[in-house]
């Protein structure tokens, strides 16, 4: 699962050919609309729009389902909480909105190379250099954030396998403690490797 979450897939669809600026603007507009416009019917409409965009971008069905699985778990928990606290309509709206947001964002990352996004970010924030902000460093931070998810999922999988191999598959402590330690250690190693590559100097 971890290997392909949100990974760019080369293609020749309309979405692949669109400039990255238009795609990011579109993502921002749709995201704001999903959050701002209320009601279950509109939520269904946004989900249909998200599915159409995913179809236009020719997202792989199995990879998309795998990538959305984690979001779906959180969305269902949030919806149950909303149902308990408020109404069924509100719960349904939350569930559909979260799925739509995740699917639209996934469509953007699958149809846009990370380097293209970084180039655009560097271009846009170049004027901020005057106030001491290094565009390349900001771009690197974004790249790290994008990469952090699959990297952390790989560590989680390895740690869970290690716990299972020692017969501790059902112990949260045997899994969570080494997982957190490994994530922190990996962050240190990555920091060293970035420095070694002269990135961020």
């Amino acid at each position: 699962m971890s290997m392909t979450v949100g990974l760019y897939r080369p293609g020749d669809t309309v979405l692949h050919r669109l400039p990255v600026g238009a795609k990011l603007l579109g993502l921002a507009v749709i995201s704001v609309a999903i959050v701002a416009l209320r009601g279950p019917l509109l939520a269904v409409g946004f989900l249909v729009l998200a599915v159409v965009l995913a179809l236009v971008g020719r997202l792989d069905l199995a990879a998309t389902a795998r990538a959305l699985r984690a979001v779906l778990v959180i969305a269902v928990l949030v919806a149950l909480l909303q149902w308990w606290l408020f109404t069924f309509d509100r719960a349904l709206e939350s569930l559909l909105d979260l799925i739509s947001l995740a699917l639209v964002a996934l469509t953007l990352t699958v149809t846009t190379p990370t380097t293209e996004t970084l180039d655009a970010v560097v271009r846009w924030i170049r004027p901020l250099r005057r106030v001491g902000i290094d565009p390349e460093r900001v771009a690197l931070t974004i790249a790290m954030a994008i990469q952090a998810l699959p990297g952390t999922l790989t560590l989680a999988q390895e740690t869970r396998d290690a716990a299972r191999a020692r017969g501790l598959g059902r112990s949260p402590r045997a899994y969570l403690t080494p997982f957190v330690i490994r994530v922190v250690a990996r962050a240190h190693e990555t920091g060293d490797s970035l420095k070694a590559r002269g990135l961020g100097d």
């Binding site: 760019y8 490797s193 590559r197």
Partner: protein, 234 residues
């Protein structure tokens, strides 16, 4: 070849709990100008610390380290443009989602044009036998391919020196040979930290590090004999 010079370079770490400092590397004075330099020694002997000082990942507590006249403590960024570094576990240094994007990241500083940058990255991957893996996730690579990609990412920036810390430790025999052959075919000055005594025998000069001291410095065969003797006696 660039001159790597250690002048009484020493590394100490403060231990706040004990209220004292511990010496990781005792003062070392060396001038390295050979093309292939090996560093061997037991686990925890200080060989990685010695190697990390060459591109400023570890700074000397006393003394100095210079590369081509540039002090690593004062001119760190300039030194790192001269000196590339790869780690034992390449997974820690692959920071982009796909292979080609990771190599492109190394080129951002030197190749500003996006189209040309991608082409240079693809050409680099082809040189390392990874052309067909260009758009593949870095997490989907085998251990050998990851190490090759880590090397490709560092060498794409065309450093004059490559320091590589145990590059074959996690690899099987086939990949060890492949990575070893690649390292010894590079035009760059190579500083190789390794436990692989066959590999280090191909170096022009080998340093043996034990207990934080460079205890032997000479030709490869003699250095390996010295190391094996030290380990046997110990």
């Amino acid at each position: 070849m660039p001159e790597i010079r250690f002048e009484a370079a020493e590394v100490r770490v403060e231990s706040p709990d004990l209220g004292e400092s511990r010496t990781i590397l005792h003062p070392a004075s060396l001038t390295l100008t050979e093309q292939r330099i090996g560093i061997i020694g037991s686990n925890g002997s200080g060989k990685s610390t010695l190697a990390r000082m060459i591109n400023g990942l570890v700074l000397p507590s006393a003394g100095s380290v210079t590369v081509d006249g540039l002090d690593v403590a004062r001119r760190g960024a300039a030194v790192r443009r001269l000196v590339g570094f790869t780690f034992t576990d390449p997974a820690a240094q692959l920071v982009m989602p796909t292979c080609v994007e990771d190599v492109e990241l190394s080129l951002r500083r030197t190749v500003k044009d996006r189209v040309r940058r991608k082409q240079v990255a693809l050409d680099t991957l082809a040189r390392f036998g990874l052309a067909e893996r260009a758009e593949v996730s870095v997490h989907a690579l085998s251990g050998g391919q990851r190490q090759l990609l880590a090397l490709a990412g560092v060498l794409a920036a065309e450093p004059e020196v490559l320091v590589t810390d145990e590059p074959t430790t996690l690899l099987d025999l086939r990949n060890t040979r492949m990575v070893g052959d690649l390292l010894f075919s590079l035009p760059q000055q190579l500083v190789l930290v390794t436990h692989d005594l066959d590999l280090v025998r191909r170096c022009d000069r080998v340093l043996v590090v034990e207990d934080g001291r460079v205890c032997y410095d000479g030709d490869a065969d003699a250095a390996v004999k010295h190391y094996v003797r030290t380990v046997s006696v110990g």
